[in-house]
Symmetry: C2
């Protein structure tokens, strides 16, 4: 998606350790018009799918998922990261290794919010090695619901998580895929279709 690629090229900052900072518009400060455009694009891409609910994970997925939900006219559910499983009610649970935080989180969703009838679109801001998305797919599977697809804002293509999911048969619609980036020069190259 040209709009997002242009914004990353302009305002994204490449840091050492394969870190891309997009915190001025995507995951600390949020450009609402940009998120609205991302949501509209996913609605166009997944218009053939009977989406009933959007699933994301706190924290930075929530804004993006909510703006997308406006275009799909469905509720959002966000999975919670927790290091103490003391919530009440029946829970869907898995573990996710965080690339950013270098630790493992228990991730939960109340079982009553995903039913076997649901057709789920999973949304997240970033896709690197794919741990977070695989965790969310696992939660949907526990509920007996269908994953109709995955919508990602920024995929770091060179980390392989997206292609691994595609190889496993999931439809992954990343609106910008970074083929390579270089912390010294600041260069960012996008994958072309």
């Amino acid at each position: 998606m040209q709009l997002l690629e242009d914004r990353i090229a302009r305002d994204g900052v490449v840091k050492s350790g394969n870190v891309l900072k997009v915190d001025s518009f995507l995951n600390h400060q949020i450009d609402i018009d940009l998120l609205d455009a991302l949501g509209a694009e996913w609605a166009r891409l997944f218009q053939d799918k009977p989406i009933t609910k959007i699933l994301t994970i706190e924290a930075s997925g929530i804004g993006i998922a909510c703006m997308a939900a406006l275009h799909f006219d469905v509720p959002v559910v966000f999975a919670k990261k927790t290091q103490s499983l003391n919530l009440d009610g029946e829970m869907l649970c898995t573990k996710i290794d965080s690339f950013t935080h270098k630790k493992t989180f228990d991730v939960i969703v109340a079982k009553r919010f995903i039913s076997p009838d649901d057709h789920i679109l999973i949304i997240d801001d970033f896709l690197a090695n794919g741990c977070a998305l695989r965790g969310l797919i696992e939660l949907v599977g526990q509920a007996g619901a269908v994953v109709e697809g995955l919508g990602v804002a920024v995929e770091k293509g060179f980390q392989g998580g997206g292609d691994d999911l595609r190889a496993r048969g999931y439809r992954v619609e990343s609106l910008a895929i970074i083929e390579s980036m270089d912390a010294e020069s600041g260069a960012i190259c996008f994958r072309t279709a």
Copy 2:
């Protein structure tokens, strides 16, 4: 706001320890149409204020703030809770005691995202004793910006945080204020204007 009060009365669950669960529509599963209506109401209430940015705190404030931002046509910034201050760049920092989690978080916002020229509307899902909102007010003060007001979805009026902020001169617009609630009967009484 009648729409929100009706929803709380219908789907809110009172738990012991002054806990009100609204996770089926506000802060775990999210009803986007409801959030859109809350955003429109704050836009009406604060239409006389020159809001330039909305500030909230992760995680459950983010969706509400984003939907409100759509009505104000301004960016959102969300403060991050962290227990390790290893983010780069200059930060605004404070500490917030969490009623829900019974612990203290360091809360940060990158300094470059709030400028002295900003007129900030602070948005959050809940107001109980007011710790989170006082922390966000502190961050805005550190930046030298103006707090134009606070928009809260659900205020637990009996915990006093909202009235304390009003007594200190802040304009607090809570769209539902709970005067009392009872875990045994499940009764919820709202404050009337």
